[in-house]
Structure formats: C-alpha cells, structure tokens
Assembly symmetry: C2
Homo-oligomer: 152 residues x 2
Amino acid sequence: MAENHHEYPRMLGALLRIPFQAIVTKIEAGLRARGYTDLRPAHFVVFQHIRPEGSRITELAERAQMTKQSMSELVHYVEAKGYLEREPDPRDHRASIVRLSMKGEAVNNAAREIIRQVEEEWSNQIGREQMNALKQGLMAIIRVIEVENSNQ
Amino acid sequence: MAENHHEYPRMLGALLRIPFQAIVTKIEAGLRARGYTDLRPAHFVVFQHIRPEGSRITELAERAQMTKQSMSELVHYVEAKGYLEREPDPRDHRASIVRLSMKGEAVNNAAREIIRQVEEEWSNQIGREQMNALKQGLMAIIRVIEVENSNQ
C-alpha cells in the first residue's frame, strides 16, 4: 500500500497493479466501443472470477477479495443488465448459482480480444523480447504461488 | 476477463492479476500477525490510492475503478476503525477529505515491509536475475502507460 508515491521507487505491488489497472481501463473503453456501455471496471471482477459451470456469490467474493455485500451488489447489477443467469444451488437451496448468459459470454470474448490487442501494442513499444521475459517472469511467480497454495 | 481458465494459456491480464492478488493476501496475513485484525483485502484499496495530503472519496473511487457507493462504504469502515482522519474539503464544503491517521500510517509502513519480504521470497525462488527482468519489464510498460496518459 502507499506504493503510489512517485518520489520513491515503486514496490512490486504497484508495479503489478498499475499495468493491470491500465488493462482494465482499456477493456472498458473497448467494450464501450463495441456497444457494451453499461459495464464499469467495478463489474469486471464478476467476469474475471465466475466459473464456466457457474459460481456462488460467496465464492466470487472470496476469489475477488471483496466483501459478500459488495459482490452481491455487483452481481445484481450485472444480472439486471442481462449478462448473467441465475439458478438455485442444488447443494444449498437457500443459495443460488450465477453463470454467464450468451450476452455475458460475448462480452468475455470481446474482453479477450481487447487484452490480446493491448499485449500486442505494449509488445510493439517495449519489444517482443522484453514482453516475453516479462511473461516468463510472471508465469514463474505464479508457479511459486501455486506451489505455496498447494502446500497449505 | 475469463483469463482464469487454466486449460488455456493465461492472458496478460491474469498474469498480472494473480501475483498482485497473492501480494494482497500476504499483506492481510502479515497485518493480522502484527495485530491489525480488522482489515480485509477489500479495504486495502483505500490505503493504496489515498494521497499523503488527503483525498476526496470521489477521487479514491475513480483511482480504484470502483463505484462511489462502494468506496464510500469502505472509507466509512476504515475510518471507524481509526485508520483515517476526515476534514471538510476547503474547495467544496459539501465534500470531505480523508487522510491516513497515525495508525493508518503505521499500517502502511507494515504493508511496505511485507511487500519487501514477499519480493525477497519470490526472488529467492525464481532467481534475482529473473526478478530483475520482471521488474524492468513492468517498469517499461508503466512508462508506456504514462506516455499514453499524458497524450490524452
């Protein structure tokens, strides 16, 4: 936290967060250009964390590191705009499962296309070699994280 | 979005998001170990985006890519726990400015220490050379983003 003070060298948290947030901003602009004008960055966490077979809201909140109340509000909005379908949770009749609708899947495919374009643009700027080194480094860290998580 | 399906190569968005979220999880555990047991990852965005001289809630919401309502709820919680001070905005008497309290600054310093430890641990795992290449790549992308933003 407080990694955002430019007078100091940025810490690893901010070095990861700033490019990630820039991608999110570009996804919003790209979706808007494709006619999806009712989605804000706040809503993207629903799409990022929902599983193809559907997810419970408590699970989405946990994966997105948000409170259940905040996630519930986001899910209600995204559902009302037609991007989600909801059905009862067969394992718990008080809970429900949400999954992407056809419209939600179309947004997801558009977002993937936008991310590919951003990577291409950045790769042109910093060079293919540095982009590959960056991705290799990120994948190496993700492998470390996965081993840590599997040991818990 | 939907970058989280392991059967496909992960896209750049997920490659950045997964390590960032892991850092956030480690900050939460480290703060809890230091006695700050009332802060969840959802609250960290307040600390990440607040300026030393104080910030308005609308500005915090924009910088964190959240709705004003969600940010307002987070700020109220963090303030109630003693991490923030609030004063009237001299430029707009209907608005207020929040800034970190002494307790909030202590949390920030603890978070910086935790991030340094995480970087050290990951660096030991993937090697100093790959960590440096990763940070150079992230800094190169951040420079591209800053040029893009200054041209808008």
